[in-house]
């Protein structure tokens, strides 16, 4: 008993072929979109790789690029087959390849599902990398003369301006590191000497933040030095002052940005999986309809199309027995070898 049979006449077959051709080209476009999203994501990760200690995982964007290319190729091939399907001569040369093609599509769908799952799960890895990377970035902010770290200041300043954030968890992270290079500190000055000696590690700490933490929306010119000292500025109370500097931490800001990208990509991949399944079902119907034509010379005859030749249970039973015979055939071969060895 075939699974979900449908009767086809010439008109229905032609309509199915045309519709399927259009859906295949839509799938090619979706493949191109996936490819370009993979490239976009890769570029975004590279742009901020300094914030992530240069050891972020590029698995997801690489997989997306691969999947996008595969989707384009498979769907273009499917579209070509559809285009040729109503011409028996052209279709004859594609016929033997169809079964492996459908199996390949099944495998590709599984790969797509895996990619979607990775998109949702790898966000945790990104979060942890960001936390570690930002901590180090803030530490290396002052090292503008150390090769390999000289652009850290610029990258961090631009990130804080662009993402409207300050520090790792919040602006107080800046109070715990020395972010002014020793080159610009007058070590003979008493004030400087006091500050340096006031902590174990000999760092010049102060209750100030870099200018990139300033919020342009604040009504008053930016207060970035002596933040906790109310008497240093006129009419200033650091406990109620809200708009002066960005209060959000950069880890949270960057993570929400990357997680929104990954979530959207994941949703798009799930849509692509559904589209691919529709493609496969359509192609199966079309090929079975063309194969079961009573009189191949007469295009107007009716035919049947189905998804599975037997029912779902029977097909799975067949698959299992086939796998078992694969295993047992190996065993028999081994048994055959050993008697010859004994001889």
């Amino acid at each position: 008993m075939p699974f979900m049979p449908v009767k086809f006449n010439l008109q229905k077959r032609v309509k199915l072929a045309q519709g399927l051709w259009m859906i295949y080209w839509l799938s090619v476009i979706v493949g191109i979109i996936l490819f370009s999203l993979g490239i976009f994501f890769k570029i975004e990760l590279r742009k901020r790789s300094e914030m992530m200690d240069n050891n972020e995982s590029h698995l997801v964007p690489n997989l997306l690029i691969l999947v996008g290319l595969l989707a384009c190729g498979l769907n273009a091939f499917g579209g070509k087959v559809c285009h040729d399907s109503l011409d028996p001569i052209k279709f004859a040369k594609w016929k033997p390849m169809l079964k492996p093609f459908l199996l390949l599509c099944c495998g590709f769908n599984a790969l797509l599902l895996l990619t979607a799952l990775l998109c949702f799960l790898m966000q945790f890895a990104v979060y942890l990398t960001l936390a570690e990377g930002l901590k180090n970035s803030i530490k290396f902010y002052k090292d503008t003369d150390t090769p390999g770290r000289c652009f850290m200041k610029r990258t961090l300043d631009m990130t804080q301006i662009e993402f409207r954030c300050c520090g790792n968890n919040n602006f107080r992270d800046w109070f715990e590191v020395q972010w002014i290079s020793n080159r610009y500190l007058d070590m003979s000055n008493d004030l400087v000497k006091d500050r340096v000696l006031s902590n174990v590690e000999g760092k010049y700490l102060m209750d100030s933040v870099p200018f990139s933490c300033c919020n342009p929306g604040s009504p008053r010119p930016c207060i970035q030095h002596h933040l906790t000292n109310n008497s240093a500025h006129y009419d200033y109370d650091h406990r109620i002052e809200e708009l002066n500097i960005w209060t959000r931490g950069c880890r949270e800001a960057l993570f929400s940005y990357f997680s929104s990208i990954m979530n959207s990509i994941g949703v798009l991949i799930v849509a692509a999986v559904i589209l691919e399944s529709v493609d496969m079902a359509g192609l199966k119907y079309l090929t079975t309809a063309l194969e079961t034509m009573d009189d191949p010379e007469n295009p107007e005859c009716e035919s049947d199309g189905w998804l599975l030749e037997k029912g779902v249970k029977d097909t799975f039973g067949d698959l299992l027995t086939r796998l078992k015979t694969l295993g047992t055939s190996n065993q028999v071969v081994e048994g055959g070898d050993s008697p010859t060895a004994a001889n």
Binding site: T144, D145, C150, K153, R154, D157, M158, I161, W179, I180, S181, R183, Y184, L185, D186, N189, P210, F211, S212, C214, P216, G217, P219, R220, P221, C222, Q224, H233, Y234, D235
Partner: protein
């Protein structure tokens, strides 16, 4: 002797129809492009209208939007007519409108050319608006409590960050105005009183700039206050210190940005005009070719575009009008260029004479009564 003779059969006509249909849809895309450029330009002007004193001219983006919409409409209509053209029954209803449509297309092309020219010319008024607006923008920087100007500070800060510029001509413009609001100045302090007393207008002037002038690429943390005082900072010489704040003035930054934008839009509109002008003859070739297909051939003396004549002549010489598969000839001009012009002159003279006779008759009627 006909000029530019071409033979047409059914296959050629069908191919021509398909080509024209594709060209129409390409032209619709071009119209959408012009529309989106107009919208983008309008949005950019609105974003920074505070810096232009809110009196910048929106004439050019509005014109671009209008032209984009008309282009889409015209080319969509043309595509529809093309699609129906090979079916005689459907084509009948479009037939009367075609000549007018072709003339309208030509007027539209001329207007498109004028728009492209305007894109290059309207830079100059924009420069003046920007210069004036920026000067006022800086003056109102501190007025964050005055309604209507409370966002000037944020707009100016964001602009200086985005365009990497400081002040109008350079950063010293900030030294000449008070950019700290009086709300945040302690008037009981001696230092504040000294500064205010030191100039005629009673403004709190200082040699400092807002934080948005800071250059993130500078290796040292930003120095924005007491910029001309070398002793205020360790190892600082304001004559040699280069990278600390942005050196460029915002007027030149904005002018080059908007100028570049308008140049690009002007070039793109030029290209769209060229495309439209190319579509014209091909569409004309096709339409008049079909105008008289099912009926008696009619003589059409409109010598406007090359294509119109191709079509008309091709139709008139159809061997058998009832049979679409019959062959026909098409040409650009039925007689030579000289003879065609003399024909047109004769026609215009006869038109003039016709009105004269009418006036004479009316005068006669008037005198009788």
């Amino acid at each position: 002797m006909a000029l530019g003779l071409v033979k047409f059969d059914l296959k050629k006509r069908v191919k021509l129809a398909q080509t024209v249909w594709f060209m129409y849809w390409f032209a619709v895309m071009a119209g959408v492009l012009v529309l989106s450029m107009g919208l983008f330009f309008k949005i950019e002007l609105r974003k920074r209208s505070e810096l232009m004193d809110n009196n910048e001219s929106h004439f050019l983006p509005n014109l671009l939007i209008f032209m984009g919409l008309v282009a889409c409409g015209i080319n969509g209509f043309g595509g529809k007519v093309c699609y129906d053209s090979l079916d005689p029954t459907k084509f009948l209803k479009w037939k009367p409108m075609l000549k007018g449509f072709l003339l309208f297309c030509m007027g539209f092309n001329a207007l498109l050319m004028v728009t492209a020219l305007l894109c290059f010319l309207m830079r100059i008024p924009l420069q003046f608006t920007l210069a004036e607006g920026l000067k006022n923008g800086m003056r109102y920087y501190k007025d964050t409590d005055t309604p209507g100007r409370c966002y000037m500070k944020r707009t100016l800060d964001l602009m200086q960050i985005e365009f990497r510029c400081c002040g109008n001509e350079n950063y010293r413009d900030w030294f000449e105005i008070q950019w700290v609001s009086n709300r945040y100045l302690d008037f009981s302090s001696k230092e504040v009183k000294d500064r205010i007393g030191s100039n005629v207008d009673g403004q709190y002037l200082m040699d400092g700039v807002p934080f948005s002038c800071c250059n993130p690429s500078s290796p040292r943390p930003c120095i924005q206050h007491q910029m001309t005082n070398n002793s205020a900072y360790y190892s600082y010489d304001h004559y040699t210190e280069e990278l600390n704040v942005w050196k460029r003035g915002c007027r030149s930054a904005m002018v080059s940005y908007y100028g570049g934008l308008m140049n690009t839009i002007g070039v793109l509109v030029m290209l769209v005009t060229l495309l439209e002008v190319r579509v014209q003859p091909t569409q004309s070739i096709f339409y008049l070719h079909l105008l008289d297909l099912p009926k008696q051939p009619s003589r059409c003396q409109v010598a406007v575009t090359i294509g119109l004549q191709y079509i008309d002549s091709s139709l008139s010489t159809l061997v058998n009008p009832e049979d679409p598969e019959s062959e026909s000839e098409g040409w650009i001009l039925e007689k030579t260029v000289k003879e065609t012009f003399t024909d047109i002159m004769d026609k215009m003279k006869s038109m003039g004479k016709g009105t004269k006779v009418e006036e004479g008759e009316e005068a006669g009627v008037a005198t009788v009564s």
